[in-house]
Symmetry: C2
Subunit: 340 residues, 2 copies
C-alpha cells in the first residue's frame, strides 16, 4: 500500500511538502508540485484516512443515529440528509440503534470510539451519560424530528401535536364524530400525535373514548393491519380513523378492504408523514406532509455551522407541516357504516 513516504521518495521531496500539496497549502515550488502530482497520479495514492483522522482529531464525518427499525419516512429523511452532508464534504456513518439499553450502549461506545465531527439524531436516546459526554466534549449535535426538553440542543422538527390536531380536525369538519386512533407507545412523536388527536376532539366538544384508541407495537404496515383488526373486534362503531403514520394507515386500509369495508365510503382514514407510496395507494392517502427536504437541508446546515463556528448557539426550529387531502377521506353521509 503506497504511503506518503513513497510519494516523497518518488518525487524527491520531503513528506512535509507532499503533505502541503495534498492539503492545498499555498507557497510550494511549482516544479516540485508537478513532480508529486505526477507521483500521486502514477501510483494512485490516496491518503490513509485513519492516520489523518488521528492526527487531525477530525474525521470529516457525521454520525446519523436512527432506530434500526426505521420506517419509510425516516429512510427518506436519512437518504436526504446523507446527500446534503456529502455536498458539504462530510461522510456519513449510520448508527442503527436497537431498542433498549444495550442498543443505546453500543451506540454510545461508537460515538466515543469513532469521534465523528458531529451527530445528527433521528432517534431519541435515553442514556443520560450520552448527553453528558456530548456536552463535556463539546460535540456538535442536532436533533431532528423531535425535541428533547431536558437537554438544550438545536432541534429541527414539525409541531407534531398541532399537525395531528389538523389531521383530526379535517375528519371532524367532514362530519365524523366517532374517530378511531391507531398509535403506539414508543417514541415521542406518537405520544404527541395522540395528544393532538385528543385536543382536536376536545376542542370540538367530542368525548375522548379509550375504546376508540388502539396501541400497536411498531409503526409498520403490518401493525396497521393488526391495529385495525383489534379495533373491529371491539364492537365500538367508528366512521373514521387517524393513524399516526402512513404505513399504519396503509395497513389499516388493507385490513378494511379484506372485511369488505370501503375507504372512504364507509370509513375515512388519514395518515401522517406523506411518504412516497401514499400518493400511489388505492385509494390515495390523505395525510400530513412533513417538509422532509427542508428538514434534511436545515439539519445539515445547522450541524455544519455548529462544527465550524466557535459559539454554539442552539436553536429550536419548528417547521410547517401541511394537510394533504387526497382520496381516503370523505364526508360522513347517510350510508356510512359503523365499521364493525
Amino acid at each position: 500500500m503506497v504511503s506518503i513516504k513513497d510519494i516523497a521518495r518518488i518525487a524527491d521531496v520531503s513528506v512535509s511538502t507532499v503533505s502541503r500539496i495534498i492539503n492545498n497549502k499555498k507557497g510550494v515550488n511549482l516544479e516540485k508540485q508537478a513532480r508529486v502530482l505526477q507521483a500521486i497520479k502514477s501510483t494512485g495514492y490516496v491518503p490513509n484516512k485513519a492516520a489523518r483522522d488521528m492526527v487531525m482529531k477530525r474525521t470529516f464525518t457525521v454520525a446519523l443515529i436512527i432506530p434500526d427499525t426505521f420506517n419509510i419516512f425516516q429512510r427518506q429523511l436519512f437518504s436526504n440528509i446523507e446527500h446534503h452532508l456529502q455536498k458539504f464534504g462530510y461522510r456519513t456513518v449510520f448508527y442503527f440503534v436497537a431498542m433498549g439499553p444495550d442498543g443505546e450502549d453500543d451506540c454510545f461506545q461508537r460515538v466515543k470510539s469513532e469521534r465523528t465531527d458531529g451527530i445528527i439524531m433521528l432517534q431519541e436516546i435515553q442514556l443520560h451519560a450520552f448527553y453528558e459526554y456530548l456536552e463535556s466534549n463539546k460535540i456538535p449535535c442536532v436533533i431532528t424530528t423531535f425535541e428533547k426538553d431536558e437537554w438544550t440542543s438545536t432541534s429541527i422538527h414539525v409541531s407534531e401535536e398541532e399537525a395531528a390536531h389538523a389531521a383530526v380536525n379535517h375528519l371532524i369538519q367532514l362530519g365524523h364524530r366517532r374517530i378511531s386512533l391507531i398509535c403506539g407507545k414508543r417514541y415521542s412523536f406518537s405520544l404527541e400525535r395522540k395528544r393532538g388527536y385528543r385536543n382536536a376532539l376536545e376542542y370540538a366538544g367530542l368525548k375522548y373514548d379509550e375504546n376508540l384508541v388502539v396501541y400497536v407495537d411498531s409503526y409498520s404496515v403490518l401493525s396497521g393491519g393488526e391495529g385495525m383488526r383489534e379495533l373491529m373486534k371491539r364492537n365500538t362503531p367508528f366512521t373514521a380513523v387517524f393513524a399516526v403514520t402512513d404505513e399504519l394507515a396503509i395497513g389499516a386500509m388493507r385490513e378494511l378492504k379484506d372485511h369488505g369495508i370501503s375507504v372512504p365510503q364507509d370509513v375515512s382514514i388519514v395518515g401522517f408523514d406523506d411518504i412516497e407510496i401514499s400518493s400511489f395507494t388505492i385509494p390515495r392517502l390523505t395525510t400530513i406532509r412533513q417538509p422532509l427536504g427542508e428538514m434534511a437541508q436545515t439539519s445539515v446546515a445547522m450541524i455544519h455551522s455548529l462544527i465550524t463556528s466557535e459559539n454554539h448557539l442552539n436553536v429550536n426550529i419548528a417547521m410547517p407541516s401541511q394537510l394533504i387531502i387526497r382520496e381516503s377521506t370523505s364526508t360522513l353521509n347517510g350510508n356510512a357504516q359503523d365499521g364493525t
Copy 2:
C-alpha cells in the same frame, strides 16, 4: 479526551499492559487488571478507533456499495446485511454511489482511503481500475444480486432470467397472449429479466413484439405509472403485464386504476422482488420472491470467511427464487379487455 496513557497513569501500569487488557490477551496480573478496569470504568475510556485502525491495518468494518437511488428491495437487503455484519462484530459503512463516472470515482477514492476489511457490492461499478485495485491489494469482495463475468469473485444472486421466465410463464399459463413488459436499460438485473420475458414468450411459441415493451428511467413507483401511461398510448392491446420490479408494478396498477381498468379482471400484472408492501397493495401483488434474508446472511458469511481465511476461494452462488401468486393475476376470460 482520555487516552491509553491516562489509563496507564491512573492504574499505575504501562500502556502495554493496558493495551493487553483492552484486547483480552491472556496472562496479566489480576490485581493490575482490576486496577485498569477500574480506571477505564471511572473515566469512561474507549480506545480511539482511528489510532487502532492505523496501527492494526484493519478497520473491522465492511463497506456496502449501493446505488444512491436504491429501491425498496435494496433497502431491505442492506438493512439485513448490516444486521448480520453487526453480529459478526463488523461495522458497516455505506457508499451510496451516484450514477456515472464521478460517482464511481468518489466511491473508489473512499475504498482507497478508508481501507475497510472487505466490500459487499449491491451495485455494479464499471471503473476498471477499481477491480485492479481490489485484486492487487487482495481486498475481499462479495457481489450480491448479480454476477460479473469479467471478474472472478464470489457472488450471491438469484437466477434472474429463470425467475423472470417463471413469472411470464405464469401469465401464459393463465391464457394470456399479449403480455407487456415494463423494464429499464440500466443495471444488469433488468436486462436479464427482460431476457427471461423473451425466452418465456418464445418457449410458448409467442412472438416478441417491441410494441409491447416500454423502457423507463428508474425502477420506482413513479416510473411504473409513466411506463403504463406510455403503453396505453400505443394502442397495442395487451391483457397482462410483467413489471421488472414490484415498485414498477405498483405504479402501473395505480395508473390502470385511474383509467378505470381493473386488476386482475381486465389486466393481470406480476412484479419482481416481493418487497414488504406487495402483500398489502390493493389488489395484493403476484410476484417473484427473492430470498432476501438468505442472501444477506450468505453474503456476510462469505465476506467474513474471505476476510479471515487464507485461501480466497471464490464461489458463485445461485439462490432459488419463488413465484408468489396473489391477487393481481387471473385467467384470461371472455370479458377481458384490451387494456387500451
